[in-house]
């Protein structure tokens, strides 16, 4: 059996209490856990061995969806992905969110995994998502227990891949999240949660609990999410493209967001391609031009499934497909 390492389990009733418990322990000593679908496999592989787990399952008022398309909506961080995917308000007005949630793994996992956990999942790499013995046999790597990066041996940083399916969508929707610490809370753009570093990939403080995600009013913004993976039924993304646009009455693009995931250690916004679209109508030419620019910041390395050259090519294809979907959805 692949067993969890021993830990003490604390069950706070509020996010602030949870943050205090985490702050009371040194880094690495204590971690929060929600659904555990990302953390427990990692703990079984000894990528994390916290002595204390702060379980969020009893935190009150941390689940559910509230608000409206006119005022914006708030989703509790502990809402399961199944609940997100099945929420009618989200299905009707924010289909990109329910699409992305429904594309995470399989239904049985989505019954357990939460949205807050999804936004905080560990970065992934073929040299890292392996058993302790496997990792030991290659003398480990920089992300855990070792010195060098096997993907980019001369690199000073780890290039493990940001793999959340929902993060790019929330960034494309200009969403924010509430982080609760021991002494209070703050609200930050989801985009600013992420860092281009496979090890320190989250910019929040380690004791901060993500309690809510806030999505602005729809305001005519149309969004979509496309995901590439080997097995459509269960795999993590090896490329994800979230795209969103707002258009004037005559169809001229006023705002555009194109966010790629699984191409770097953080979601990547293709701002040059976004700028190309603004002021234009979403024609086939404009889409091709934007796609030819958007895939450039993607730096897939040889550390996930399928070849990096193919994934880079597909970034261009998927951006064009996503934009075409938005073109067809013209109101």
């Amino acid at each position: 059996m692949m067993r969890l390492p021993p830990f003490r389990y604390l069950a706070p009733k509020s996010a602030q209490e949870a943050a205090k418990m985490l702050a009371d322990h040194a880094a690495d000593e204590a971690m929060p856990v929600a659904g555990g679908t990302d953390l427990y496999p990692n703990m079984k592989r000894r990528q994390f061995t916290p002595r204390v787990l702060v379980g969020l399952s009893r935190v009150e008022n941390s689940r559910g969806v509230s608000g409206s398309s006119n005022d914006g909506i708030t989703i509790g961080g502990m809402t399961t992905l199944t609940r997100v995917e099945q929420n009618e308000l989200l299905q009707t007005h924010y289909p990109a969110i329910t699409t992305a949630a429904a594309l995470v793994s399989a239904p049985v996992l989505r019954n357990m995994g939460t949205l807050g956990g999804n936004l905080c999942i560990d970065t992934r790499c073929n040299y890292y998502n392996q058993s302790y013995e496997w990792r030991k046999s290659i003398n480990f790597c920089m992300k855990k227990d070792g010195e060098i990066c096997w993907v980019a041996p001369s690199s000073k940083r780890c290039w493990a891949v940001s793999s959340s399916d929902t993060a790019p969508v929330f960034i494309a929707l200009d969403a924010e999240c509430t982080l609760v610490g021991p002494d209070g809370e703050r609200r930050v753009p989801v985009k600013s949660l992420y860092e281009h570093d496979g090890i320190d990939f989250l910019k929040k403080k380690r004791e901060e609990i993500l309690t809510e995600i806030h999505v602005p009013k729809v305001n005519g913004r149309r969004a979509t999410y496309l995901k590439l993976r080997r097995r459509d039924s269960i795999d993590f993304p090896i490329l994800g493209v979230a795209a969103a646009i707002e258009t004037a009455k005559d169809g001229t693009v006023e705002k555009a967001r194109i966010v790629l995931t699984a191409v770097e250690s953080a979601p990547v916004e293709a701002d040059k391609a976004e700028a190309v679209l603004v002021g234009k109508k979403l024609t086939e030419d404009a889409i091709e031009e934007a796609a030819s620019i958007a895939y450039r910041p993607a730096k897939p390395l040889d550390n996930t499934d399928l070849t990096n050259a193919y994934r880079k090519k597909m970034a261009r294809v998927y951006v064009a497909r996503a934009l075409r979907e938005l073109m067809r959805a013209e109101p």
């Binding site: 059996m1 021993p6 389990y9 069950a11 427990y40 239904p107 049985v108 357990m112 269960i234």
Partner: protein
């Protein structure tokens, strides 16, 4: 340092008391403490679905669940499928269509299928496929499994099989 905990669980309709280390998963407690070895362990990493049990009617992966969080919940394992010693229609349908070969994936798939049929008594094939997306089978090629679930849903258990 393995802290043991007194756990009060509800398994297959009965209250059970267990003393187990907190870090033991539901899968471990079911198999090792309660000797309910019908629930199988495969990958133990959330990838294969063979450890699927129902928690308040919803399929979850017991290899990634902590019993301490489930003390208020109703846990159903494959052992709880039979009623008065009689096999569940899904179990009979699996036997009839040959949906189990080595049988390793079967307990997990039966539980996922039971949950599906309770919510959606006559699912389309696509809906069955989606509900079972997290349950891998290395033997059958899935066709007989899908047929068995359709057979159970249609109430055709016991009728001759048309090939």
């Amino acid at each position: 340092m393995a802290e043991k905990q007194h756990l009060h669980l509800h398994v297959n309709g009965e209250p059970v008391d267990v003393v187990a280390p907190i870090h033991n998963t539901l899968l471990e407690v079911l198999r090792e403490n309660l000797r309910l070895t019908g629930t199988k362990h495969g990958c133990e990493l959330g990838e294969c679905g063979t450890c699927t049990v129902l928690v308040d009617g919803e399929p979850v992966l017991s290899c990634l669940a902590l019993p301490i969080e489930l003390q208020d919940a109703e846990i159903l394992t494959v052992e709880g499928l039979t009623e008065d010693g009689k096999a569940h229609p899904l179990q009979i349908a699996f036997a009839e269509t040959g949906a189990a070969q080595c049988g390793y994936c079967t307990p997990g798939i039966l539980m996922a299928a039971k949950s599906l049929l309770e919510k959606n008594p006559s699912p389309a094939r696509r809906e069955i496929e989606e509900a079972l997306a997290g349950n891998l089978c290395r033997c059958t090629g899935y066709i007989q499994i899908l047929q068995a679930i359709e057979r159970a849903a249609a109430g055709d258990v016991g009728k001759p099989i048309s090939v």
